[in-house]
Structures are given as C-alpha cells and as structure tokens.
C-alpha cells in the first residue's frame, strides 16, 4: 500500500501547547479521519502539512515529496478546505475562481462550473453573501476543480446543518471511488468519521494516541463495566481511561478480547464508539 502522506517525528511548540513526536501515514486511496477534542492539535497538523506554520522538527512527505523542498509541486496536488473559508468578502465568486485557476495546471473550468451549478452557487454573487455552508461548498468546488489527488479539510463539517453535512460526507465517499484520490479531514464530530473514514488517527494533547484502520479500532477497543469495588482500571488489560459512575466503574480498553478473556464474568463488555474513545481518553482520567 503506497502512502499519500508520511509524517515522522513532527514537532511544533507554542506557548502552553506542544505537538510532540507526531508520526503517522495516510494510505493513498482512503479517507483518513483526524480526530481529537478541541485544542488537541488537529489544526496544527494540517497547517504543518500546508506549511502555513513552521515546524520545529520532523518530516512531512506528500506523495513521496518533502512538503517544504517541493512546496509548489506538493500544493498543486492538494485541494485545501479550511474550517472557515477565507476569501475577499466583496469579490464575486467567478472572480475568485479566475484568480485562483492559473495556479493549477489541471484546473478544469467546465468541472468548476458544473460543481457551482450542482452546489447551487451563483457565480456573480460576492463571497460575503454566502452562508457558512455555501462558503464551504465554494471552497470545496475550488478544491475539486483542479483534480487534486489529496483533499485536505480542517473541521469541514463544523457548523453545518445535518443535510449538508450528509451531502459533504457522501461527496467525500464519491471522491475516493477514484483510487488515486485520498482525503484527510479533521473533526471532533465522531459520527461523521464513523460514517465515512477508512482510517482513524486519534490525537490528544498534542500526541498521537493511535493511528489505525477504523474497523480494527471499533473491533478491538471496548468499554468494560463493573460494579463498585469490583475492578480497578489497572486490573483491565489495555486500560486507556476510566470513569466512575453512581453504579460502578467504566473502563476503556484497547484490547477488548483480552479483557474479556481475563476478567470473564466479573464485568460486562461493550464495543467502544469513537465518541467513547475520545471521551474516556480526553476526559475520563485517561492513562496508557
């Protein structure tokens, strides 16, 4: 399996926050979801990929090319959709498109016009007259019109109504029907990722917790529930976080099968959702 993105030992330090030793790959032809609570470092990773911020250490390769040394070549293959699309407010959409188009050799004007029609975006409207959802659609139309091999999206579904969120996710699924295309999108809305992502990279407090195939994660991770004083988090193999409730304790494990085999009837077992994983690790006294 070839990788669209390879990230090794990436580091970025801010005052009060450090993205530390981030390493993961995004396989080509799949949708990778970058998940984590607010402030975990998702946007920082995407900005580092786009060279919008300077890395302190590490390496980023996109389609085998270093993203700094081959910046124009790399960016020519990326369709970037920012969490809040930013264009000059008082400029018409058609003018924005005509300003951006010459940067891309593979820009397809007919495709762009088709996407504008499909998204019901009037080309003669100024950017400020669009709703948040329409701005996101316009940004997506620009990203798709140059036949990008990698679609990079930072929190694309945040603030969107459920109908457009569904539409957008369906669109992402359609993109990767072409095996050359890859999507990396960050979100804290776990249901969106469960719906479309093939792979998940979970980040918390600037560190990667895991990066794996979604089905594997949903298959192996689980929540072990037991009455009060029956179990401690350290009793559970692969324990990654715990929460005490009025009725006992709930412990997140990354190895549900082993926990079930070792603890037997002392507890009840549920498969973990991505929301469970995010909650227990970030809020539930998470420990590795």
């Amino acid at each position: 399996m070839t990788n669209a993105i390879e990230i090794k030992g990436l580091r970025k330090e801010y005052k009060g926050f450090t993205l530390e030793d981030v390493t993961f790959d995004v396989p080509q032809g799949y949708i990778m979801g970058l998940i984590g609570p607010n402030g975990a470092g998702k946007t920082t990773i995407i900005k580092l990929l786009m060279n919008l911020i300077r890395r302190d250490a590490g390496e980023v390769r996109v389609f085998g090319l270093d993203n700094l040394r081959h910046e124009p070549e790399v960016k020519a293959r990326i369709g970037f959709v920012y969490d809040v699309p930013r264009f000059h407010d008082d400029v018409k959409l058609a003018v924005i498109a005509s300003a951006v188009a010459p940067f891309y050799k593979k820009w397809d004007d007919a495709l762009f016009r088709r996407l504008m029609e499909e998204f019901e975006l009037p080309a003669k409207t100024t950017f400020k007259k669009l709703s948040h959802g329409q701005k996101m659609k316009f940004s997506l139309a620009l990203a798709l019109a140059h036949d990008a091999d990698l679609i990079l999206m930072d929190e694309p579904t945040a603030g969107l109504d459920p109908v457009f969120r569904f539409e957008l996710l369906e669109r992402l699924r359609a993109i990767i029907q072409n095996e050359r295309k890859t999507v990396l999108f960050s979100s804290h809305i776990t249901t969106d990722l469960e719906r479309v992502a093939d792979h998940i990279t979970f980040i918390n407090e600037g560190r990667i917790v895991f990066s794996a195939a979604k089905d594997e994660v949903l298959e192996t991770w689980g929540v072990v529930k037991a009455g009060p004083d029956v179990l401690r988090p350290t009793d559970v193999p692969g324990s990654r976080g715990a929460k005490r409730t009025d009725y006992g304790i709930e412990i997140l494990t990354s190895d549900l099968a082993r926990a079930r085999a070792e603890l037997g009837g002392r507890a009840v077992y549920d498969k973990a959702t991505l929301e469970d994983i995010m909650f227990y690790i970030s809020r539930g006294n998470g420990h590795a």
């Binding site: 300077r54 000059h88 008082d90």
Partner: protein, 225 residues
Amino acid sequence: MLKLVRLEVLLNRKALVTIFVMLSAFFAYTAYRSFSPRQYIGLISLVMGLAVPVAFQGREDRFGTSVLLCSLPARRSDVVLAKYAVTWAAIGLGLVYALALAALPFSKIPLPEVINFKGLLLLLFFSSLFFDCQLPLMTRFGFKGIMVTIIGFQLLGVLAMVFIQLFGGQRNPLRSFFLAVESFFRFFMRHEPTPGYLLLLGVSIVALNAGSFLIARALYARRDL
C-alpha cells in the same frame, strides 16, 4: 510570481479603483498648485506606493486571506516577491499618472524639468529608503508593520524637534547625526549627474531592494499563519 500579482490585483481591483478616484482630485490640485516639480513627482509616487500596499495588506489582514495565498502552489518567497512587485508597480503607476497630469493644460509643472534621468533615479532611491524599511515589517506583521514604519519615521521627526527645542542647534547631542544625514541627502541631491554618480545611485537602489527582500523573505518564512 506574476500569477500572484494578478491574483492580488483581481481580488483588490475595487480598492485600486477607489484609490485612483480618491487621489485623482488631490493629484490634480497638486499639479495646479505645486511650485516644485521634484516634490510633485516624489509626493505622488510616495502616496501611490504607500496607498496601494496599505489597502491590499489591510484587506488581506481583514479577510484573513494570507492563508489563501500560502495554500496556493507557490513558494513563500514568491509571495514576498509579489508584494514587492505590487509596491513598485504602484510607485511606477503613480509616476506615470503624475506625468500624465503634469501634461494637462491646468498643470503648472514644467514637464522637461521632471523628466530627467537623475531625477527619476533619485526618486527611486529615496522611495527605496522608505519602502525597503516598510516592506519587511509589512510581510512579517501585516498592516501593523506598515503602521510601525510610518509611526517610527514620525517619532524620529518628533524626537529631532524635541532635541532641537531642548538643546538648541549647537549643543544638540544629535547634531552630528543630523549633520551626517543632511550631508548624505545633500550629496545625492546636489551631485552632478556624472556616469559614476548615476551608477552609484543605480547600484544603491538595487542593493537596498535586494537586502530588504532577503530580510522580508527570511521574516515571512518564520511567520505562522
């Protein structure tokens, strides 16, 4: 780089038209009233060279579109080069516009006095002194960088006046500095247009811009967006 300049112009064309409309009356009035051709040309080029990047950078900061610029398939150094190109194009445009106005019947500017090689080189040299301070700060800090340069130059003027008021002409501790600045300007302004002098001016303009660009490029590479 040309694509970036084109993008800047397309996305800011309304602002560009507004600047021209707003400043036309002022420029025409200056052509009618002006007593010094050199001041007239210098003023218009300076105003245009300042107004265009201020407007463009102000809009870039306001709409947060630096992210758009840096997400396009271009190097950051190209973005910086485009900002320099836009500024110098604005100065050039101001110059052409000034000459066009000077040719109109109401103008009191004697065109032959304006159009001479030394005068044009001097204009570029003094513009470089100002803009090559401003542009690195603008690329690093955006609109704030422009304000810092303008206020910085104004503060220098105020400081000079305060020192003169406090210490008088002779006992002023900055006297030697003022004299050095004065003789620097006098040297360039009053020198005969010999080939060596014109070459020195040309080389100085290129060196100032190259040095400023390298600083701006290094600063912009460190800017987190």
